[in-house]
């Protein structure tokens, strides 16, 4: 588990559009207002630094529906999911994404897996084939968003400060700032950490875990929750396989022990080997989500 972080009430989270330099630091008071209760369905303006400012109506669900509490003297039965708020906002993100036919993928890994390089190559190779934009989560720096932007792709940076994972609420804000076009793909690059992001649904279609051959083939057993939550494992840096002690077959077997349905692809973002398989996986999923939207709108 990560011991360095002290996440995550979103206070101090920074959302930046590197293209314009527009930056917004979320304060506690602002977050509390944005999702305050008791005034459902009202229109309000977001403090928009992203031009143009927009006003739109939307509802705030009450955090507590009709207080499910039965009083027994001084004991109050709650039966409330601790992460219900995140889950509800994630569902709202998912609805917003699917209504636009946007496929969102949550990329997770430990630090140093080559996730950003893999994403850069993907954006370059698929240019003209798939429209993509990126939400870049990082604790402190803007470096990754700048690398993404160098590919010509739109990126929004979320700096979580001490936060060790992204949460649905902040991703919802970043999605609004990103304003991805219909039928496109949004790649959400989560904070490098194989523990905490497993627990937080962002509203994505799938989690993709990236593991490099320099890490150790037992990683799926050390971080089982993340591999259990992911649909696809990309084994990266395959070009380095001759130089490291890493058994690809054993790694896949370990991952399937915690998630029998996980798919696995061997890639190298450096040489490009295996990358076409990943692109096919991505495009198949994009087509199926578009089909889903067409069927949905035809009904």
């Amino acid at each position: 588990m990560c011991t360095t972080c002290g996440c995550s009430n979103m206070e101090g989270v920074i959302i930046t559009d590197p293209a314009s330099g527009a930056m917004r630091i979320l304060t506690k008071a602002e977050r509390d207002h944005m999702h305050a209760e008791g005034h459902p369905g009202h229109p309000h303006a977001h403090t928009a630094i992203y031009a143009p400012a927009h006003t739109h109506p939307h509802t705030h669900e009450a955090v507590v529906e009709a207080i499910p509490a039965a009083l027994h003297g001084t004991t109050i039965a709650l039966e409330q999911e601790i992460l219900s708020k995140n889950r509800r906002i994630a569902e709202r993100n998912r609805g917003w994404l699917s209504s636009r036919g946007v496929l969102a993928l949550n990329l997770v890994s430990s630090p140093g897996s080559g996730k950003t390089s893999l994403l850069e190559r993907t954006l370059r190779d698929l240019r003209g084939r798939v429209t993509m934009s990126v939400i870049e989560g990082d604790q402190e720096t803007m470096n990754d968003a700048e690398r993404i932007r160098a590919t010509g792709c739109k990126a929004i940076q979320i700096n979580t400060g001490k936060g060790c994972h992204l949460e649905a609420e902040i991703v919802g804000e970043a999605l609004a700032a990103l304003d991805a076009p219909a039928d496109s793909v949004v790649m959400i690059e989560n904070v490098g950490n194989l523990v905490c992001p497993a627990l937080f649904d962002l509203g994505e279609r799938a989690k993709i875990v990236i593991l490099s051959v320099t890490e150790g083939d037992d990683k799926p057993l050390k971080y089982p929750h993340m591999f259990h939550a992911s649909e696809l494992m990309l084994i990266n840096k395959m070009d380095l396989l001759p130089y490291v002690d890493f058994d690809v077959e054993r790694c896949i077997a370990n991952a399937r022990q915690v998630n029998p349905n996980i798919q696995a692809l061997r890639v190298s973002a450096t040489t490009g080997a295996g990358m076409e398989d990943w692109y096919h996986w991505l495009q198949d999923l994009l087509h199926s989500s578009q089909m889903g939207r067409l069927v949905h709108s035809a009904v």
Partner: protein
């Protein structure tokens, strides 16, 4: 550390229900397969409750197992560990539960 985030959610939800009353006890249900360490929650609880109606409250954590059905032999059993195998050696398990993260109840003065 996601336990801190989890604990902050607990404090926020319980404080809201407490409506200014002092909270004496909070009972959580944490599934054994939930990737949450009860000890980390306890550690965070002391920090996160300071200056709130939960300060000094007792924290009870009930750990609940999941259950699994083995796809290979059909056996059903309680699942205490995400890496557990069936007695037949099967690893293709269909999991149910064990990932609960709930506030069961609270006691106010």
């Amino acid at each position: 550390m996601h336990e801190l985030s989890i604990t902050r959610n607990v404090v926020a939800i319980v404080s809201e229900h407490a409506q200014q009353r002092k909270v004496l006890r909070v009972t959580l249900e944490v599934g054994e397969l939930s990737a949450i360490m009860p000890e980390a929650i306890r550690f965070c609880f002391d920090i996160c409750t300071q200056g709130t109606p939960l300060e000094g409250a007792r924290l009870d954590i009930m750990q609940t197992p999941g259950s699994a059905t083995c796809r290979d032999c059909g056996a059903e059993f309680a699942l205490h560990d995400i890496l557990a195998r069936c007695v037949c050696g099967g690893t293709h398990l269909v999991r149910r539960g064990g990932d609960e993260l709930n506030i069961k109840e609270m006691e106010v003065a």
